[in-house]
């Protein structure tokens, strides 16, 4: 067994143990239900913000319609569960796939052009989706919304635990997938598209293909987020998925740092928690958000993680560090023992 393999195994163990402990705390109600709910919403927000980070932060193509993809995922999941009795887990995946299909269809004409067009087309797409959802009242319930989406479980005690666990499980999978993707060869191609499209093209990278790939994957993840959202809330309304919602995800990405996964996770949970605290500000919140966007872009365009040199938190790196310190300590202990003799 190579050392790297061992480190990975230890990391997975650490992750699993952490996951079980935190879920145990939730199940024993040591983390109260309110906090659990905020953390669950935060998890969904982070999943969608991560998907936006993939296309806007890593690929450098601004997309403004992620609420639209979220809506596609949420409504597909809800419709499959309610009308065809598909198991929830499969329905969520189907929501993601449907959203990816939409992403592909929108991406094909727009990504051929300069990134600016993507911003407008995705913005328009988000609005069109909302209009369609309002009009397709057989499936979506129209402007009144869709009520009575069955939750993950009907058991009153297990419901928050299961919602929390499932959302965090998806979140962990998305983070693992994204961080591995970014380190892989397609990931490097994606980043090169952001850095310099012309140079990337000259190096033989199919810029259009990688843009489409990143955009479709981004839509897929956003659809998963929407799919998780539907059974968790149990109610959907087309007006939940307006432009403002898309901009909320953008704020998370910008605040955490574009192209930084750790930043998005921290900013996502942080902002969700802050939103609960800032309720007393009412409408003034709406002025503070755009100010955050403008000020970040003017003074700290790399986001909060930019302050720490845009580094990523890495679990394997953490484990490796721990081991190194242990080895160091053991050796120094034996050295000391040697001195005594």
């Amino acid at each position: 067994m190579s050392r790297q393999y061992k480190t990975t195994i230890t990391s997975v163990w650490l992750l699993a143990v952490g996951f079980i402990i935190i879920n145990g705390l939730v199940a024993l109600r040591l983390i109260d239900e309110y906090t659990t709910q905020v953390l669950t919403i935060g998890g969904i927000n982070v999943i969608i913000a991560l998907s936006l980070n993939l296309i806007s932060g890593f690929t450098g193509q601004l997309a403004l319609g992620h609420a639209g993809f979220m809506a596609v995922g949420a409504y597909t999941t809800a419709a499959l569960i309610m009308q065809l009795n598909v198991p929830t887990f499969l329905a969520i995946l189907a929501g993601g796939l449907m959203s990816a299909l939409f992403g592909l269809v929108i991406g094909l004409p727009t990504l051929r052009l300069h990134g600016d067009y993507l911003a407008i087309v995705t913005l328009g797409f988000g609005e069109i989706i909302r209009v369609i959802m309002i009009n397709l009242s057989d499936i979506t319930g129209g402007p009144a919304g869709l009520k009575g989406i069955p939750p993950f479980t009907t058991n009153f005690f297990w419901r928050p635990v299961l919602s929390f666990a499932l959302v965090q499980l998806f979140l962990i999978l998305v983070i693992i997938m994204l961080s591995n993707l970014i380190k892989s060869s397609p990931g490097c191609a994606i980043i090169s598209v952001r850095e310099d499209e012309i140079a990337a093209n000259a190096m033989g990278i199919n810029v259009f293909y990688y843009k489409i790939f990143a955009f479709t994957l981004s839509a897929f993840i956003a659809g998963l987020g929407g799919g998780l959202y539907a059974p968790f809330f149990g109610y959907l309304n087309p007006n939940m998925f307006n432009f403002l919602k898309s901009v909320e995800f953008l704020i998370i990405v910008v605040l955490g740092g574009m192209g930084n996964i750790t930043g998005t996770v921290l900013a996502g949970f942080g902002l969700t928690y802050l939103q609960e605290f800032l309720r007393f500000l009412k409408d003034y919140r709406l002025v503070i958000y755009p100010l955050i966007l403008i000020l970040m872009m003017l003074f700290q365009p790399a986001g909060l993680m930019g302050i720490f040199g845009n580094k990523e938190f890495s679990l394997t790196g953490f484990v490796r560090n721990l081991k190194r310190k242990q080895i160091f300590r053991r050796r120094s202990a034996s050295d000391k023992a040697g001195d005594h003799q």
């Binding site: 806007s56 450098g60 193509q61 601004l62 403004l64 929108i106 004409p109 727009t110 051929r112 052009l113 990134g115 600016d116 067009y117 911003a119 407008i120 087309v121 913005l123 328009g124 797409f125 609005e127 069109i128 209009v131 369609i132 309002i134 009009n135 499209e197 012309i198 432009f243 901009v247 953008l250 910008v254 574009m258 409408d283 003034y284 709406l286 002025v287 958000y289 755009p290 100010l291 955050i292 966007l293 403008i294 872009m297 003017l298 365009p301």
Partner: protein, 299 residues
Amino acid sequence: MGVFQQILQQTLNGLSLGSIYALLALGYTMVYGIVNLINFAHGDILMLGAFVSYFVLKCLGVTPGTLTLSFFISMLFCALVGILMEKTCYKPLRNAPRINALITAIGVSFFLENGARVIPIIGPNPRVFPTLPSVTYEVLGVGISRVQILVFAVAIGLMLILNYIVNFTRIGKAMRAVSFDKGASYLMGINVDQVISFTFALGSALAAAAGILFASAYPQVEPYMGIMPGLKAFVAAVLGGIGSIPGAMLGGFIMGVAETLTKGFLSSQLADAIAFGLLIIILVVKPAGILGKAIGEKV
């Protein structure tokens, strides 16, 4: 009313709406032509213009004189806001990655909308915009209202003035030069910063006029009124060929007619979707727009 007359009526309404879009699209296209930025906040300048005019008319009463005065005050105010916006938010980012400038533009747009919503004298609720008593004249069985005549007169007048400024004045020549090659015009002794500020001022003044016309045609003002006209005007600018001034005018008229025909003959809810449908079709068929030139990427 026959089908032919109905089509004629809707086309007339469409041209009237389209001239408002055209005024707004001119601002997008000029700014894009010079700094390569989609100014998301442009639609919100329309809202500001409408509100300034609303307050002027509320204070002084509605007469043709005060309406003219409100045009001047509102255009001047918005031109100043445009310059301020450029100097504080866009100028520092001129050499930053484009995505940063785009995000800032979205921030500015939201700031203006929500700022207006939070200010107590504006507030979130829609208000009735004071207008002159409406009179409708009938020509060949087609009704044309006084507001529509006002819209045509102001829009066409402003477009002629803009055409004169861009094509026959020193600053207009400088604008064209900066849009063609910023670096070279800097070397030729053109004050590029001043030209960019002037472009923002000009675009914002046109947006303010468009705002008053829009508010007169649909007599209502509210903080979010600028979003949809802004987006549609942007689509109009892309349709005509972004960066091209005649293109923006043409695109605006096409957008307006397409929208009213959809509203009149298909469905009123589809009208908003049709704009983005059009945009996707243009991007697939002719991304440079009707009057735009396809320019290859410079290395």
